[in-house]
């Protein structure tokens, strides 16, 4: 039989005795570990999947588009330094008509090389086969699109290729590293039913779009260690004569950008949330252990008198902490593993990976364990040191009553003089240990702050949805034209069934230059006093459109380093490709993208193409929607139709599925945090003052009055913590918004009063739960045994 060392036995008994507090601390550690494991594991799943997928299917490193590049240029590109493989191809957008689906659908058409399999951006053929080069109607469609429409091999649908309706047949279903996140142009998120990818033979596309002997898009892989900036510059120079609109690296490729952005957000969560939990856990450990050492000081003295070393005593109390932390880590691992798997499952539907392997490696576990144990040890160090350094004789002597002091006639004394004795007891306790009071309140604040910062996502999203879809985008549908057309088409559209009102816009692809900086962006011409798109800034204020000059988003102004009054060069990348010099008339903050606007008349005038449009917005009568959609699908001049209602529904559905569950989890963790802090505070108070409270009972105070003295302290701490936490939550929200900020997307911080209210209610709920649990102990307080002993 192995004898358990009595000191080890003592640690286990201590933990059993303090199980409530030990559990609370362990749960906070578990929350921190859980969030860390979840985000790291999900991050790892996406990162390693993307890496493996990109590598195996040769996802391009560099992309470039132009109007029409002669075939021969592909060889020049291949000769550029660092270039490994070049895939010259055709990429065009088209509208698609799928029987049974009323609304118009947009698709991107990508050419497949005639005689060889693509070397770059290889397809993952999920079903079927590669189209026969001799059959013009055979195509491959992207898997989520096929699934959304329940399309099978052999099914047919039609597409408008350059204005001509073509009947197409599905021979294959595939995925591509280029379309992991299939988001259509101008959309806020992927809509598998309304945006798809179609691969077809290059001869078919070349014929349809008049690109024989040419291509309009190039995808390139490079050798490791390639000098990207110089490659991009050379590529730009090479494609310039062919209407090149600027080469870009993988980082700026839209699908990959979203994947990387998701990884960055997970990293940001991993670096913000867990530290909050672990710091609070360290603080609580510190208090609990300090109390334990204090209670056991005579035992420590005795053990030392027996000859146990300082180190043994320090290690004894450190073990206590390690066991609690280890318990938290284990629970956190399981929790984090499950949450991570759930999150990864969400990513699996969001991102089209051929497979998503969820197998967090050992580092995730060891890292989270290491962090928590270090945090716990930091919490333990002071108390363990104290235990080690207690001189035996001192430790055996009973303590004199804790010192209280006041300056009679001082401000504090005068303030307290107005209170009754029980209330005075509460405040003197709080003031005696100002640091502990402060830190406990901060612990409560941390919980409120995490709650506010988590719950406010709802506000941010609903504000954005309302602002974007209700206040800004007031059209029901928007229609893109294949080519610019006279304004008269707006009136033609107005005559279609169900159309109530239309407005004409113009969008031109441009490269905007200022000094040495430049940037590609669509310059959007909008009508003055437009009713269907109302420009609003990040604060929800309407932005007036200047009659002349550019109205530039603040984000774009920052990229270019321009200020109002500066004159920029606008290189138009279509049509005659003129270069305009235009002053920046005004800037405004936007939440999405880096848009640049101009009065449509001023834009048309500058382009010397008066009264031209390529984008229309319309309000429609829902009752005639079917008839209208049927007409729109058959109009060859239209390259795409977007429905606002569909976008809103999709947004709400996607957000509802994921965001709210995530918010619920973080809120749960935050409630746990509040509970842990408050419960521990009450238990420590009860332990420190059990004797005092028993004395009060003996003196004739009722259980209620005694409870007031015990819980009053926690109540004051909580009440201090609430407003500080609300403020902290706002700051945390701002901080996270900055952390998540990208060029494409900025999150507004728009915390509704009800969010603060809900956070406060949840924390008060944890406080009441803690109080209820501790009250049971208060009722059971044994008056006689407490009074018979010293401490």
């Amino acid at each position: 039989m192995v004898a358990v060392h009595p000191l080890t036995m003592k640690v286990l008994r201590d933990i059993a005795r303090l199980k409530g507090q030990a559990t609370a601390i362990a749960l906070i550690v578990a929350s921190g570990v859980g969030v860390l494991v979840m985000s790291l594991a999900a991050m790892q799943a996406i990162t390693s999947t993307a890496e493996a997928y990109y590598d195996r299917y040769q996802f391009a490193h560099v992309f470039a588009e132009a109007k029409r590049i002669p075939r021969a240029v592909a060889r020049d590109i291949a000769r550029l330094e660092a270039v490994r493989t070049v895939e010259a191809r055709m990429v065009r957008y088209a509208t698609v008509d799928i029987s049974g689906f009323e609304e118009p659908v947009m698709a991107v058409l990508v050419s497949l090389p005639e005689n060889a399999a693509a070397e770059v951006n290889r397809l993952v053929l999920r079903r079927g086969r590669i189209p026969d080069p001799h059959r013009a109607d055979e195509v491959i469609v992207v898997e989520p699109f096929a699934d959304a429409h329940d399309l099978h091999l052999g099914d047919r649908f039609s597409a408008l290729l350059n204005g001509r309706k073509r009947d197409l047949q599905i021979v294959g279903v595939a995925l591509s590293p280029e379309f992991v996140y299939t988001i259509g142009p101008g959309a806020l998120m992927p809509d598998d039913a309304r945006y798809g990818v179609i691969w077809m033979g290059e001869a078919v596309l070349a014929a349809a779009y008049d690109l024989d002997g040419a291509f309009n898009s190039v995808a390139i892989t490079v050798w490791p260690g390639a000098d990207m900036p110089s490659l991009l510059a050379r590529l730009d120079a090479l494609l310039e004569p062919y209407g090149g609109v600027g080469a870009y690296a993988r980082n700026d490729q839209i699908s990959n950008w979203f994947v990387m952005n998701e990884i960055a957000q997970l990293r940001s969560i991993a670096s913000i949330m867990p530290p909050i939990f672990l710091i609070v856990a360290a603080f609580l450990t510190n208090i609990l252990l300090a109390r334990l050492v204090f209670i056991e000081r005579s035992e420590i003295g005795l053990l030392k008198a027996f000859g146990y070393s300082h180190a043994t005593m320090a290690w004894h109390y450190t073990k206590f902490v390690l066991i609690i932390a280890a318990g938290g880590v284990l629970v956190g691992w399981v929790l984090g593993y499950l949450l991570g798997r759930w999150m990864t499952g969400i990513y699996a539907t969001l991102f089209n990976f051929p497979l998503l392997v969820y197998a967090p490696d050992i580092d995730v576990y060891s890292l989270s364990a290491a962090f928590s144990i270090v945090a716990a040890l930091i919490g333990a160090v002071a108390a363990a040191y104290h235990a080690a350094s207690l001189p035996p004789a001192d430790a055996m002597r009973p303590p004199s009553p804790p010192r209280f002091r006041q300056n009679p006639g001082g401000l504090q004394a005068r303030a307290l003089a107005r209170l009754d004795q029980p209330t005075r007891i509460i405040f003197r306790q709080l003031l005696r240990r100002p640091l502990r009071t402060l830190l406990t309140s901060l612990g409560v604040s941390a919980a409120v702050a995490v709650l506010v910062a988590s719950l406010q996502w709802r506000d941010a999203i609903s504000w954005m949805v309302t602002d974007f879809f209700d206040n800004q985008q007031r059209q029901d549908i928007s229609v893109s034209l294949v080519e610019s057309a006279p304004l008269a088409v707006a009136r033609a559209l107005e005559r279609l069934p169900g159309v109530l009102a239309t407005e004409a816009y113009r969008s031109v692809s441009t490269r905007i230059r200022f000094e040495s900086r430049h940037r590609r962006e669509a310059l959007i011409g909008i009508p003055a006093n437009g009713q269907l798109e109302v420009l609003r800034d990040a604060h929800g204020r309407n932005v007036p459109l200047p009659e002349h000059g550019l109205l530039m988003s603040g984000a774009m102004a920052k990229i270019l380093g321009v200020q109002v009054g500066d004159v920029v060069r606008v290189e138009v990348l279509e049509g005659r490709q003129p270069t305009l010099t235009v002053p920046v008339a005004a800037t405004f903050e936007t939440l999405i993208g880096t848009p640049v606007y101009m009065h449509i008349d001023a834009l048309n005038e500058a382009l010397e193409e008066p009264r031209t449009t390529n984008h229309l917005r319309a309000r429609i009568d829902e009752r005639h929607a079917s008839a209208l959609f049927a007409r729109l699908k058959s109009l060859p001049t239209i390259s795409g139709v977007m429905l606002k209602r569909a976008a809103v529904d999709l947004f709400n559905k996607t957000i509802g599925e994921t965001m709210y569950v995530v918010i619920a989890f973080y809120s749960g963790f935050a409630v746990l945090l509040a509970y842990g802090v408050i419960y521990n505070n009450m238990r420590i108070s009860l332990s420190e003052r059990g004797r005092e409270l028993a004395t009060l009972r003996v003196l004739g105070f009722s259980s209620g009055e005694v409870a007031y003295m015990l819980f009053g302290e926690a109540a004051v701490l909580t009440l201090i913590g609430l407003p500080v936490g609300c403020l902290g939550g706002w700051l945390l929200a701002e901080f996270m918004a900055t952390g998540f900020e990208t060029e494409l997307f900025r999150l507004p911080v728009r915390i509704a009063p009800s969010t603060y209210g809900l956070a406060i209610v949840l924390v008060l709920f944890s406080a009441l739960t803690s109080a209820a649990l501790v009250a049971r102990r208060l009722v059971r307080l044994n008056l006689i045994s407490v009074l018979k002993t010293r401490e």
Binding site: Q421, L699, F701
Partner: protein, 240 residues
Amino acid sequence: MGAQEAASAVLVARNLVKVYGSGELEIRALDGVDLTLYESELIVLVGASGSGKSTLLNILGGLDAPTSGEVLFRGQPLDLRNDRTITEYRRRHVGFVFQFYNLIASLTAEENVALVTEIADAPIAPREALAMVGLGDRLQAFPAELSGGEQQRVAIARAIAKQPQLLLCDEPTGALDSKTGVLVLSALERVNRELGTTTALITHNRATAGMADRVCRFSDGRIIETTVNTHRTPAEQLEW
């Protein structure tokens, strides 16, 4: 028991039994105790450690309930199991002094006393109570700033400030040296004399018995002997 005596009885305990544990481990801490405390008397309880003195005092003061038997306060039976009535009883009628002073560390001497006077019906002023125990000049001191004897005297002042009918003291001098102990006993004696508070005092010190009106000797949970002193020795003259 004469009619007059019965009328002046503050507290009557009848056939009190207190059993801890059960079966083999059963301990009869009180084994049929009858005791009457009369108006204004000072009674001292002596006996070996473990003989049941504290158990009795705790039951009389409403801190504990007996296994059987009853307690009458001014002729009315006390429901010792009802928290409400018992809290009320302690609050209005009973003052306690323990071996450990049990002062509230966060309150000054005066505030410790005020703690009780705030919830009492007809209290004496905290200053007055402290003056009575010889601490009129230490009102603003916190417990940590007082000696053991001073702390115990604050505890006495706190116990008597509400003018209780009963003052129950469990070894109040147990943690004190003899000189300080005498000061504490003098304070108790003075309270008993000036306020007429019925006082029951547990002590280990035989000499203390001299200051009592009556002395009850305990053994094995019973009162085995009661002595009536015809003459009370003033506390200052007690020989330790």
